[in-house]
């Protein structure tokens, strides 16, 4: 996989962001690559880093006693991975493992947090942008909770 890093504005999550903010965030960005089946982070570890997936697939997982490593969700091109860095206790709530060889834009979240503290207006914009992505993720998760494909017997 070669080629220039995908510009930030190309990611749906940042599509509406003004130029100035995009510049600031780009300053913290670098391209990273993961082989298949590579663990990106584990539950409980200090939360550092935010990844915008360019291609490949990453699974969010958790160890459940008796069930092993359970996959909760997979993320793909355009998705944001990781936001526990934004709020205390700044630790990962889940683990993440690449399923396929994956390329992503990694943001330096320590820098992002510092920038946000210096410039609250930027911070507000950054948080709202990420909030929208979280909201969509939450809605999709709730849709799964509805168990819409279940049969009437399952609903009783």
């Amino acid at each position: 996989m070669t080629g220039a890093a995908r510009p930030l504005a190309a990611f749906p999550v940042f599509a509406q962001l003004p130029e100035a903010e995009l510049e600031l965030i780009s300053g913290t960005a670098r391209t990273v690559r993961f082989a298949a089946r590579q663990r990106l982070f584990s539950e409980g570890q200090p939360a550092r880093g935010c990844w915008l997936i360019e291609d490949g697939r990453v699974a969010l997982d958790m160890a459940v006693p008796g069930r092993g490593q359970v996959v909760l969700q997979t993320l793909g091109p355009g998705d944001v991975l990781g936001w526990s860095w934004l709020v205390p206790p700044y630790r990962w709530h889940y683990g993440a493992t690449s399923v396929l060889p994956t390329t992503a834009t990694e943001l330096d979240t320590e820098q992002l947090r510092a920038l946000a503290e210096q410039d609250p207006r930027f911070g507000y914009t950054l948080v709202l942008t990420l909030f929208e992505a979280v909201l969509q993720r939450l809605q999709a998760t709730r849709a799964r909770l509805l168990d819409l494909y279940g049969s009437p017997d399952d609903q009783r």
């Binding site: 749906p12 697939r57 699974a59 359970v70 996959v71 909760l72 969700q73 997979t74 793909g76 091109p77 355009g78 998705d79 399923v99 969509q136 809605q139 999709a140 998760t141 849709a143 799964r144 509805l146 168990d147 819409l148 494909y149 279940g150 049969s151 009437p152």
Partner: protein
Amino acid sequence: MTSADTVTVAAEPMLPVPYRVTSRTAETRDSVTLHLEPAGQPLPPFQPGQFAMLAVPAIGEVAISVSGGPEYQDGALVHTIRAVGKVSRALCDAPVGTVLGARGPFGTTWDLPSAAGRDVVVVAGGVGLAPLRPVMLGVLAGRGGYRRVLLVAGARTPAEFLFHRELDAWSARADTEVELTVDRPAAGWDGPVGFVTEPLARLPLDPERTTAFVCGPEPMMRFSAQVLLRKGIPAEDIRLSLERNMQCGIGLCGHCQLGPILVCRDGPVVGYTLAEPLLTIREL
């Protein structure tokens, strides 16, 4: 008393014609695909999106969309049924050789020809893949007539996908983009895990030349349509297949009303422009 009775009443539309089960394939733990052939007079050809009223004598009758492709135009019927009630259970249990009653074709079609030359996006949730199978088969039978062909199908678990073998075959095609996703993974599943709207949201689509065909539980269709609208696809290019209680299938019993429309007559396939305001009214 006038003698010239010019009102010719067509053959009683509530009378089924006998159809025999010629093959039976279990798709999942609660879904079966039946191939039916006329035991007498064949019914007229069914278009993708249309449905038949299938009767199990002494038990009842239900509306089931056709799930077969263009090759079944000689009077034969293909239906994929999920056992959710006493009639559908009886249909799923019907052994080869059983004589059922069939009426149809009823309802509006997916109108595949109107998508000629455009990108075709098929979004299926659960057993919603069954009424969409004729769209896939129709498009692939005339593949050159369409631009991109994309299928996004969601199921509860990997074991609950309908048409496993066909999904594998379509996934293997170079000229078709297939994304299968599950709500809950199982051991050995390496594919996407997430609601069907998630891979759908990731697809780069051209709003100027995309026609979307969506089928599944109503909330899933609404969520999927919202994702498509966010991507700029106009509402009139998004088609859903609706479902309501049907007793007659021919606009006479009143059960399938959804506000101003009768789903059996003005649907089941409707454009999202018409459907959107209706689906947001609670208990309509």
